[in-house]
């Protein structure tokens, strides 16, 4: 398992959170329990299984929803 912290462009609408949440949840290998979309700090924090998907897959899923990824950090846990 790895822990990703993804910094997005500033989130302005609360329905963005729901979109991102559902979009990331749908990926295979995501620990849905750990998924947190932080509205005010515009960050996504999530644990994922690095054997099933990479940080790039998560970033792509978010970008496809129309949100720019600014920076991401991965830490082994």
């Amino acid at each position: 398992m790895q822990k990703a912290t993804i910094q997005l462009e500033t989130l302005a609408c609360p329905s963005c959170m729901q979109k991102i949440e559902n979009g990331v949840k749908a990926l295979d290998g995501i620990d849905t329990e750990s998924l947190k979309v932080l509205f005010n700090s515009s960050k996504v924090k999530v644990n994922f299984d690095e054997e099933k998907l990479s940080i790039n897959d998560i970033e792509n899923a978010i970008t496809k929803l129309g949100y720019e990824v600014k920076k991401s950090q991965v830490k082994a846990i």
Partner: protein, 619 residues
Amino acid sequence: MQRFILGKKNQITLISGILLVIAFISKFLFKNTEIFVGGLVIASIIGVIPIAIQAYQALRVKVVSIDVLVTIAVIGAFLLRNFEESAIVTFLFLFGAYLEQRTLNKTRSAIKELTEMAPESALKQMENGEFEEVEVDEVDVGDILLVKTGSKVPVDGTVLTGEGHINEASITGESVPVGKRKDAKVYAGTILENGTIQIVADRVGEDTTFGKIIELVEEAQDSKSEAERFIDRFSKYYTPAVLILSFIVWLISKNVELAITILVLGCPGALVIGVPVSNVAGIGNGARYGVLLKGSEVIQDFSRVDTIVFDKTGTLTVGNPKVADKKMYTNGDDIDKVLSYLASIEGESDHPLAKAIVEHLGKTETYTVENTNVVKGGGIVAIVDGHRVAVGNVSLMEQENVHIDEEMRADIARFESKGNSLVLTSVDGELKALMGIRDQIRPGVKEDLQKLKRLGVKNLVVLSGDNQGTVDLVASELGLTEAHGHMLPEEKSAYIEKLQAKGRIVAFVGDGVNDSPSIALAQIGIAMGGGTDVAIETSDVVLMNSDFSRLPHALGLVKVISRNMIQNIIIAVGVVFFLLASVFFSEWMNMSIGMLVHEGSILVVILNGMRLLRYKLKY
């Protein structure tokens, strides 16, 4: 392509606004309906594109978002050839989103200021011994770093060589620079004001004290209370429900106009955004004033507090004993001589009372101290400048056969009743000086406690390990309601449980180190931490720089935040009910007015939240 269009949203908003203006000018000034209709059609089409894209993206992940409602409504109005409505609604929706973004950034500004203080680069010693600038993420524990004048300390570390003064305001809130030399600890995010130092990295990134503070504040601003989670769940079903409602209305009335109007009026805008906005602005205000609030649950609990329990030493008092009363039994030059003897003897001791005396006396003449004899439980006897000098308590004076007359006995009794520890000094068997030393009450604490009372706290309790006499004295001086001495840490937490069993909402204020059981047990644990890790982790509220005067601000602030949240919920719910009611019961309501009121209400809740940024305790 999608991203290109969304990236140009601001320009699209501007163009559709200009088209609207052109359309209405041509209608009213030139009576030209072709340009009027043409302008509106183009404005509708370009305006709806970004909204429709967002709606599509939302539907793909099974979310019925506001964009979905608005897109259907606009397309509906367009098909009904009501171009005026479709153009105005898209413009208002886009423009509202733009304003929301701008104002939301304001509410987040206080916290952003904090996170932007995080260091970004470091000068790291490479294998060849040279220092090179690297990103702070590339620094590992054990690396040697160079910090130059004016730059930020990149990580938590220990000084290897060099010295300088560091402004630690970002960690402690105290902006007077602190001198640092070899072996001193330095903290990430603090600024080296002068000098140059080399440090070895002890903790990096999120593990540094500053990293922890940032993480705490970031988590706090997005943490949710029970009420907010309810609103979230509610809004998840609310938007689809509006869609179904409008469909039902259409089925019954066969009135498409009415059905799509309901779609616009039912948008939940202000409801979802109201509470987070109050939260982020409030926590941001706290961060500016040195009060770290750990989230929205803490704000709710703290705002209802009726009992505050204080630890004494280090919380109500400075935790640093000082000479408070002094009496000399000699005069003239002899006074200086006696005090110099005293200072010379105490200078060799590291007893807390001795330190207080040395600090009090300051610079004096120093004499060689010979034949020092430490009397256990009594004090020190030594030969100074050829005289036999005894420094200690009353029983030491008795052992030394020092004569104590009536007047002296009265002084001793008076000093003791003030809660002092006594230090007597005799020279060649004659009592020369009497000093009373006590831990002093923090300046301003009395006024701060008054403020807490005015803010509605009914019970102010002090619990301490000190003797009951001292505790009673502090309590009566400060106007506390209850005072209990001789208490061990576990007895303190047991006492808090007892208060809670009586239905009180209890906050405990301690120094965060030895009181952690009580801090954890109380509904609100408040740590007077100079930015220590323990304090940050175990408590709900941290007062930076151990500044007691921030407590009334904190309490006033949480009360205002929780009121602000309630106001925002009322505004949001009220607007939705008002709009839905008026569409059924009034003639004048239409889509454009509905959208205007909606976007207006969103801005009102954001502006209302923004007031919290400027909050200051008034009295």
